[in-house]
Subunit: 397 residues, 4 copies
Amino acid sequence: MPEAINTASNMVPHRKLRYAMVGGGRDAFIGAVHRKAAALDSQIDLVAGAFSSTPDKARASGCDLFLADSRNHGTWQELLADELKRDASDRIDFVSIVTPNHLHHPVALAFVQGGFHVVCDKPLVHTFAQAQELVNAVAKSGTVFGVTYNYTGYPMVRQMREMVRMGAIGNLRKVVVEYSQGWLATQLEANGNKQAAWRVDPARSGMAGAMGDIGSHAENLLCTVTGLEVEAVCADLGSVGAGRTLDDDANLLLRLSGGVRGVMMASQICVGCENDLRLRVFGDLGTLDWRQEEPNHLVHARLDEPRRVLTRGSSGLSEAAIRATRLPSGHPEGFIEAFANVYLGVAADIHARLQGSVASALEADYPRIEDGVRGVRFIETVLESSRSQQKWTVVAD
Amino acid sequence: MPEAINTASNMVPHRKLRYAMVGGGRDAFIGAVHRKAAALDSQIDLVAGAFSSTPDKARASGCDLFLADSRNHGTWQELLADELKRDASDRIDFVSIVTPNHLHHPVALAFVQGGFHVVCDKPLVHTFAQAQELVNAVAKSGTVFGVTYNYTGYPMVRQMREMVRMGAIGNLRKVVVEYSQGWLATQLEANGNKQAAWRVDPARSGMAGAMGDIGSHAENLLCTVTGLEVEAVCADLGSVGAGRTLDDDANLLLRLSGGVRGVMMASQICVGCENDLRLRVFGDLGTLDWRQEEPNHLVHARLDEPRRVLTRGSSGLSEAAIRATRLPSGHPEGFIEAFANVYLGVAADIHARLQGSVASALEADYPRIEDGVRGVRFIETVLESSRSQQKWTVVAD
Amino acid sequence: MPEAINTASNMVPHRKLRYAMVGGGRDAFIGAVHRKAAALDSQIDLVAGAFSSTPDKARASGCDLFLADSRNHGTWQELLADELKRDASDRIDFVSIVTPNHLHHPVALAFVQGGFHVVCDKPLVHTFAQAQELVNAVAKSGTVFGVTYNYTGYPMVRQMREMVRMGAIGNLRKVVVEYSQGWLATQLEANGNKQAAWRVDPARSGMAGAMGDIGSHAENLLCTVTGLEVEAVCADLGSVGAGRTLDDDANLLLRLSGGVRGVMMASQICVGCENDLRLRVFGDLGTLDWRQEEPNHLVHARLDEPRRVLTRGSSGLSEAAIRATRLPSGHPEGFIEAFANVYLGVAADIHARLQGSVASALEADYPRIEDGVRGVRFIETVLESSRSQQKWTVVAD
Amino acid sequence: MPEAINTASNMVPHRKLRYAMVGGGRDAFIGAVHRKAAALDSQIDLVAGAFSSTPDKARASGCDLFLADSRNHGTWQELLADELKRDASDRIDFVSIVTPNHLHHPVALAFVQGGFHVVCDKPLVHTFAQAQELVNAVAKSGTVFGVTYNYTGYPMVRQMREMVRMGAIGNLRKVVVEYSQGWLATQLEANGNKQAAWRVDPARSGMAGAMGDIGSHAENLLCTVTGLEVEAVCADLGSVGAGRTLDDDANLLLRLSGGVRGVMMASQICVGCENDLRLRVFGDLGTLDWRQEEPNHLVHARLDEPRRVLTRGSSGLSEAAIRATRLPSGHPEGFIEAFANVYLGVAADIHARLQGSVASALEADYPRIEDGVRGVRFIETVLESSRSQQKWTVVAD
């Protein structure tokens, strides 16, 4: 096996960070992913939590995770109160919020106002007003706030971003982002599937269905990689599954900064598609093409040259990609590793602050609250466009 | 090698058909493809022609093709006049029109009015009015009129069509058709490329660029396979290449019969894409996915089952696919073979008429003038939508 | 569609060639493939034949193909006698022999001795002694003799050969050729399958089963592309299907010129494999990888660089590949087109002789009788090795 | 995102396990992988170690990993002595040995004799005699002994194994296993690459080069999935890289239990290959095909049916695969997750013993010392065959 090329895991912080989790108890899905991502590199310890909105379930979940009783809380309010009382040497360094979407806002706001660094799942909040309130709170507290748009944690996505920045494909002309899933092709929500049930429920999921759940990832991926803003959208949202009020199939034309054209598809009714997120960026000198289901590859076409397949861990990649890499090429990394890179970025930012320094952009490479806010605004505009007869609906500044 | 499964080539007509070609002389591209397609199965002989609008070049081209001098004409008008004078035992059975687009209308009209069967390249004509005139002429003459939407000649496209018809994927919900090329990413037209030059010239190409050249194929493929009509379009057409007036990048939202949503992309500025036509049809019971660059495969996903890869020539395919197949599975067929299937369909129709019978739908499986007309109307609507601020522009009946 | 890049079809011979076929009548498979390959470019006409060893069937087959009665013969001996009587202006230019293997030798020998150019299916003959006799006859008559190792007719195989010759992958180190089919996984021969029946019958197929049928293609592909000779073999042949005496699964270690290591697998019992011929050539500077089922692609890896995918018809390919190409990149060519390239090479050689000149290696790019002889010797050595307890069996000079 | 389907991470042990690591300090590669694998599911804590044969480096490495000074040792002997003195409530549950190969034997033997459970990297030891000594020690101590043949930890490899066991592809006929890497195509060992240097050095690597490093994985994968033994081998080993004495390119014919034929290739000089381990198993009813670089897929062909692509996390998979799965389908898992499954299996075995029960085969699904012994014997036989002129060399019982 070739020389280890990883740098992320070679970073030696002065101590492990401590974190608490809100949400993510028994039966939850994404909480366990966050915990594995945080645990992977042995730099972050879970020390406290309030894992459910049901206190008994919250505590039972904490027991499963070997938490000390004193830090295994029934509610997030208790968790927050307890942490505020602790000495800095013992207190958590950050909180990770992995509740259903509708709780992101109150929990995140309270912890930020309490002076805690935060990692929050996406979509950030339900409305742009909530997002703005949160941004102001973060600005006031000066805390770190990461949003787990985890797909931008993939090394080859970062490679793609760097190549676009460096002009490897010239001036951008067109962007196509597609996120196709099939798991809501049938009415799972009618058959007791918890994950389906909250996603099709406006009260818990917000005003958007597929757009909020996966379209928000597509938007973040597109904007992060290209550096472009979505300036206007033309949305055709459908609720294909019988009885649904939220969109489960979304198709959009986009107008991006500088007049670049875009197409976005986000659908959960595509039978046979699993988690098929793909981004293609077309420039006047070349094209980049990445698919989440083969995340270790990045296809690069240059004008009048054969298509090349760049692989994670191989030579010649950007520093940003190398830092996000743990294994040599050919040794597949996956979803959790990408997720862990978001945590490493947040951790690097916190470590730097603990040491009174400032993390570089390469070290603190993670999606910020601004990404979350932009995502909320995008979804609101998409919903507005969906109801409009006009072709284009402008995204407000 | 396994038992031959071909039926097309086993069909034994009573004699070879004779045809003439208009256009397709030296330097032309598509004419040679038509000739190879017609020649492949040794059932059709090229006996006459007027291969260019320049008489000397026309005759030189005919010499290259070993035509008898008496049937090697300087103009299509001479060809038509000569054929009309000949005895039926000697006269061509049909004419194949492979001129630049703007000549399709006068040539086709004249031959139809002369009572000849016609194979005509796509797009059929420039305007819906021209198309209507041609339809009326065909109705009056009762002649066979095939349009070489060649992609629907692929066996696995026919398989896809039959599976949709038979309900293999249930009720349709969404259709995505994409046709990406990259050869116009640079301004080839400024560098003496003939194929590029006429395509970006409205006088020869018509009012549409990429939409006419390849979008028309995408539309035909979509409609042929799904059996749905495009009822409304929302088009965003771009002219990305400097100095171009016609579209080279087209992105569309579609509303199909029964409210089915569609997305179409047709672009010629996608560096690294060669001839990447792909059709995905999503139903409530399954999905079908076909790519022109891997034409011998058809991916079929069924609800909660592993994705299956159907291959041309394998067991269990539809009669329509089998008839379009020449070789056992694993022995790739390509573009010319698919093209030849259009010719075989037209030939079967003509043979049946010569024998006073009627060809079955399976035998005479080829795109008709109605397909061509629908294509013209579609493109006109797309151009109208492109200029409109309204989200949806309805396709007139 | 991009500018036509084809040169093969642009070659303008002074007249069409005439050929006769022996074998390939009703129910045969490969004969029809030969005819389509010969017809594709409209440069070769089928004018005579003896299509079966059963005279009535022979003539009925000739009728299907619209042959004149006077040239539609019941036996190949009659065909030969008739052609010998004809004037040069009317006589066939060559004969194409597509009979079962055991008839290759007598038919080819007779036509060569009659002074006719020959195209013969592979494997050439059953024994090295027969092969030698044929070589001597060809040397004496000075005729063209092509063997339809059709896979080397693929443009990207020729590209691969040229790249090896030009040193693109440096000094060769290892070659892996694999030909996996699955169609004999069950005992088709017991169920009336004609193609299976003769292949498993030593009297008609020769002493080798899969080795003769497909291993011979693998050997030719390997040697043609690499320019290496097989110097020694270590063979493990199996007859997996119940009741079979000939090999249906062959696995070999090879020692090639200069000590290069090789591995060959040829099997017809690999369920799910269709016609999966793949050649990988490893050099000290790079690797080339080609698969027959995706024949328009050639994967090229260079030391410490991303893998590149070369595509047929794209820019930068060798003259040998360009000449074998009919369509622009992205427009798939397949099995018949590759087969047709063998015919075009033979035709170019014959045309040159007709005009008193000598075809260049680029023009007359087709497998020769020497390829056929080498193939026979290889198979004999493999069978000898298969019976030996010694690791290595040397291929005699 | 679909309902979580993971069971592995839902298993709730009564406490975390504690382990020590020997080897794997700064600059090492595989140690970090072991640590990430052990950490991933938050069920195993690293509490002690002796991370290098250089005491200072050992302790510095332990500091990087936040070990307590009292458990951060300069030598493995000190580590062992210290642990033996500790109370059971504090003592490590197992030791993980990730040293260069030549130290596996003494370290493993000492810890086993000390009564500790062991996880040991592969290949187990250098000679069959050493292996036998270790087996006897394990038998005497009754301890758990896992060998990190990590590739069998992939969910879809376990799926493949279960499908073979259940008869999904019928009686086995042929097995092809291939492990191609390219990283030793050049003489990295001459350029200061540590990983290359010890691998090409017989003193540290053992008598086998590529065979020991990656051929041992290929053997284990083959035997684990098929349940067959290698009965005889015919080996052709090469040292292609200038100056090397150990094999860097190995090609083998195999005879497996019941006369099943096999082919193995293990090479480290295949430019462009990264970590291309692929196993194909052919039965009379079907074929299974798995590639490590796309580990979430398993291709399954059934007689006369379309090829199917089974995906990790999808419905209908075996219990063994489901237990090894953390994420829904479409969310890629990779190398570390597979590695972690070996640790989870060992942990389940230890937990069961701690609780006085016996883990089921499903729970304690990991490679045992017997796998390691079989691997050593296999490599010894391969080396013997490589020196032999006889075709077949039998693997001793």
